[in-house]
Symmetry: D2
Subunit: 433 residues, 4 copies
């Protein structure tokens, strides 16, 4: 029976690993002005500055505080300001008001980071063999990587609210200028089902969050999965066919949501270019507003939109077990967020076999986010990490173009409410056979 | 591959069955004044008069309209007024405004029922061997029984909103005057798990809704189920222990819900008797406000409350597959709503073995309401019956004291959002072994 | 300096006056079924049954309780159930939940009325010379008349929410079948202004509410008032001219309100007859849906609509002082609610001079509802009658077709928020000269 | 009959006046970081950067566009981004989303200002004798001064939302360290009333907004006004006496507002110092959180709070006419926002006579914001400046410590909804005599 927060890698993270992950957050925020880094576009999203501070708070609270000799907080109030949702730690600044924290400034938050990093390096030097401490450090690094992804998607949402459609960087998504060719043909990959194992094996030398544990058996029916993600061109055909105006395609709750908000297309799709009379589909990207590329995956879909599309297409969303069994046989390759040339946008499907399993778009599954059989949460505040969110959310798999390389794996379970649209979330179809 | 709305009984329903079910709805509404039958206490609940009319509309729309010679509606506007959620049929009166329909009067709705019943009897006489028509009739009868249960729970909610705590009937719940003895000891019944089958077998001569189909394999882990439902006395101990004030027991979303609404106890619990200084727990029942009986099951719990209690008790909610496997071995007995002496309240657990599986309280499972592998909806408006609600709801099993005898079975899947409190919903604990 | 609730008539009300006013309320509710009398269509409106009970509660609480020997309440809980807004009396049933009070039944409320009336007649017989008590009785009778008007307008709103457009009675508004002739020509009546007196003179032998006191001087500018109310035909021209689509006519807050609610016409106007393809304007009345009569006054306008119309017409709303000075010279005649043939709808303007000053439609003034100089509220709960509402409401003058004859006068100040549409509220134009 | 937007000064504003007012806005924003200048704490408040841009937009749109040769906008999108509420100009960026405009940056907005200022100086040089143009320029300068005040109050609100209670500057309010002495005794100044004139005389060589026009007669009753504003010490006594827990003091709507929001004190009052156990009243100021000084005026009161205090104190709020008649006899002196040593907080009442009439706190009047008799709005978009807000707001008089010297006068009419608390709004009592 598991009773731990996460499973650790072997060997454990080294001081240089800590430095590299921490540095990456700062790099991702580098293109942002202090203003960009401070604003909050909706309660679900956080300012970049807050991400930089909260990830630092995590190390200060969960690693330095219990282990540092003569611990003193960098700033007493930061304990409250940068607590996200840990009731066990105490009071929290209201989530929807993170954008009002113009102080501390971005410069002060970077100083906070530098201070904690220096103390962490001293601590790591002194505790090189302390497995329990290193497990917390590793958790903190994976936590930081999760916030790196959120930093990217939250900035994208913020910039999308600005009628100037400002760009985060100048690297255009692939294929947007190369014409409007369709994606490669979609094929189906069959599985016979039967009793399979999913979940993380634990003690395997590969890190996992607690929600991936324990490995356990499930029974799968025969089914088939699509060879690639649904493309922009295919999704545009759904719209063209009146997809957003026919309740027969939609879950009842999804239709009510769509109707109440008057939605007619994905969140970042626009009928016209900036200031122009062009009524062709455009897509807001981190490089600004660009013509929609048919071959690229449709992203930023809610669960409701994903499900409606699948129903319209005569298919369904996969279960998380179906997805995981297929993914376990695929290499961990994709268009991850790292590297100086990352586009921060999914790429086109290429090659034969199962394409785009990792590092293009999170893939909605029809599986409600629930504890695996035998799941246990850790003691204390850090046990609030995952378990308390296991209701009314749906599992997404595979990582996206905003996910750091090395962060994701076949057993990784991401989760969002059915309404969430601001993540790089797409659709891989499944069907019964 | 299934592609049907439901599975039918063999032999099919007879005209007398139709008459009996239809008559039962009128009997359930008999204690109500026209005023009682017209009011709507919240958008989730409907007026009794609306239930009487809508169930009639179902037969008129789905059976008479396609089959009756020279069909003419009883009243053209009723097509809209009494359509619940079938987009395929057309416009619908807004759900939250059902209580404003003071016209047609209760007497006119009863006349509508009599008219449709007479036409239905003529139709049944003419189509005695028409299996497809009889399948729709049977669906309509089970639909009517579902609304009989809602009629009871909706009236209970309405009366609970009245500070006079008026009674629906005068039959007191069992044990409320017999002192405050606890429930019989709770024991655990173990299952070894493995590959099992759940779901309805189809073509078995027993009716099933489409959401119970198809029968399929699942893999269960070893586990144990409690021998009875959580009792009022046990739930009161949870409250006494600060259960409603400690976020550690709650799902994050449940805690936010509890906090926003300032909830401190189940919906029908009150600290004091009507107008008195007595601060012992009392419970609003269909017989009015009565002292809380410790031995009776705790009911009217939301999923959040059920889950929080289970966590506090060191247990968890069962999955629907775990529940169904246990239930399949139990007799279909319980304190159902039928019969002249029905208390419309759950009874005490008695005897050895698994008590209270059926006909006391719906039992929350941790299973999100989702399609079974291979699930298909029927063509047309009647296909909207179940499938479009398969998101953000949780499965409840077992039927309650407001469920008609013969309506429920081991494979039956009820479902409500995690916030729902006005059904007779309780908790059977489960745990890993 | 006044310090009283109201000014009384001379001679004071007699037992027969009490009986007549009380009987009138019952007559107004007579066409309603128990269902009609129980439902509440919006928080601003109350069920007819509640009006019948609350007016009785007023006499029981403010007259019987302090004066009756061995007072015992008819029902202890009614003190809370039927308290409208008197904090000084204690707890109140939530306003928005009045429609959930299916118990007490309409029959029980009528029994409550009979009981209180009998006790009141005994009390009146014993206290024939008690001026203070009779002043409270008179206040209660005028209070009852106010609720008679609300009973009519609240029922109209309730029935309007029913797609069947049911009728309260069968007496058609004047002129709706007589063709679509326009109203008589509108002329302007000039006043030179200067120092004038408004407000009730007190001790004049004519009843007044406290908010009409004291009589005081104001300075009027030269101005002119229209000879009649704005007609349906004129208001339809405003709509035709794009009045609901051009923000230039509207107060900013009114435009936001209109836009948020998507309003395109007055609340009871419909483009088509019931179930028909006719797209001519129809109006819902207490006799059901009828073709809009051009000559009749436009009613059920909000302050925002009234003000927008006036601006579009190159005029403005009158101040309450301008209105009162003109009204003081007119006879107290109109289409009041009393009498067996009352249409419960305004009539056409007839004759020369200032038409429709009283008893057709309440006339919005541009005057915010505020205390007159020297205004004082009475001590105790009854002092909450008027004063505490003197913010963010606008004064209406003149009484309507739902006002009892004898209830209104030139100094009478009615008041509603700028959004209110369910009263018989219309427009008399004014302009500077 | 007036038909103009405003009345102009004689001589008209000179290029140096333009430069001075424009420069002052930049100076007020100088203590702010780019982050501080970008955030928006509530829909009613705007970011400092937005104020800097919108005031520039005003000159560009209303002066440069119609008068500049070969006009080209600085940035085409700014026309929408920085339009506040002028429907006549076209589309507007949603008010509640001004804080999401991280682009243009603060530096770019300052460049926008410099560009427009340079073009304005060229235009002013060319049009030195163009009275109509100079009238628009003068309007723009007074408009800019209004936004200077809002810039200060909006920043105060933003900083108050930060648990760090950051300071805008380091100049402490007067008297906060000097102990807790009370304000000087309050005396009453009587007026006999009668016919008086209020409003701006027009053509007097003194600027006025259109809403101050025309000068007209009103009749005043005898009354008395308090010699100074209500002090913090007096307001604390109201709280101590249960003022926030007794509905008898409150307007009904005010009580509902207070209750819904759970308010127990003025918006910037806190029971304890930052992070301390001290439970004495403290007040958030632009210099941070400081001990409450009894002698200083109570500020940041809503109309509801002001009215409740007055009722509790046995007095009332003045009418705007009463206030104006008294103010017309007082010198235009006060603690205005200008000057290097301005505290941005009201000062103590000093000297005999009527103290604190100008430049300490806006003083709520009981007068609803309404057009003066004969009021006319200007043609075109600039006519939307004042008139369309004349509903459901209350007039405040006198200017505050955030008002620029020279901006305010005895006839000046400010206006806010009854709920507004973030302005420097206080109370001067009045009473009937």
């Amino acid at each position: 029976m598991m009773n731990t927060l996460a499973t650790t890698t072997n060997p454990p993270p080294q001081p240089a690993d800590y430095a590299a992950v921490r540095q990456r957050s700062v790099e991702l925020a580098a293109p942002l002005s202090a203003e960009d880094a401070c604003a909050q576009s909706m309660p679900d999203a956080s300012p970049a500055k807050w991400h930089l501070a909260h990830t630092t708070w995590f190390f200060e609270t969960f690693v330095l505080e219990p282990h540092e000799l003569a611990f003193a907080p960098f700033h007493a109030e930061f304990r409250v300001l940068f607590n996200s949702y840990y009731n066990g730690v105490g009071a929290k600044h209201p989530r929807a008001q993170r954008g009002l924290l113009t102080r501390p400034s971005l410069a002060e938050v970077l100083a906070y980071r530098a201070n904690v990093d220096e103390r962490m390096q001293r601590l790591l030097a002194r505790h090189a063999g302390n497995a329990k401490l290193l497990a917390l450090v590793e958790l903190g690094l994976h936590h930081e990587q999760q916030h790196q992804e959120l930093l990217v998607t939250d900035i994208k949402h913020l910039l999308s609210c600005n009628p100037l459609f400002p760009a985060y960087h100048t690297r255009q998504p692939a294929d947007t200028t190369a014409g409007s060719g369709p994606a490669q043909p979609l094929t189906w990959h069959r599985s016979d089902g039967g009793v399979v194992e999913i979940g993380h094996a634990g003690n395997s030398g590969v890190f996992a969050f607690d929600n991936e544990l324990p490995r356990h058996r499930v029974y799968l029916q025969p089914h088939a999965l699509a060879s690639r993600l649904v493309s922009n061109g295919e999704y545009a055909a759904f719209i063209e066919d009146g997809g957003y105006r026919n309740p027969a395609h939609w879950l009842a709750e999804g239709w009510d949501w769509r109707t109440a908000q008057g939605l007619e297309q994905p969140i970042y799709w626009h009928r016209a270019g900036q200031g122009g009379g062009d009524d062709a589909w455009h897509e807001f990207t981190l490089a600004g507003l660009v013509p929609l590329a048919s071959a690229l995956p449709a992203v930023h879909l809610s669960y409701y939109e994903a499900d409606a599309y699948a129903r319209w297409a005569g298919a369904r969303l996969p279960t998380e077990a179906e997805w995981e069994c297929a993914a376990a046989r695929q290499p961990l390759q994709g268009h991850f967020v790292d590297g100086p040339d990352a586009l921060l946008h999914p790429g086109v499907a290429e090659g034969g076999g199962m394409a785009q399993m990792f590092g293009d778009a999170w893939q909605w599954t029809q599986s409600s986010y629930a504890p695996y059989p035998g799941f246990r949460t850790a003691e204390g505040a850090v046990g609030e990490y995952n378990g308390k969110f296991m209701v009314n959310q749906y599992v997404l798999r595979g990582g996206s173009c905003a996910t750091p390389a090395g962060h994701v794996r076949a057993t990784y379970r991401n989760f969002f409410p059915a309404t969430a649209r601001w993540q790089f979330s797409g659709v891989r179809l499944a069907r019964d056979v």
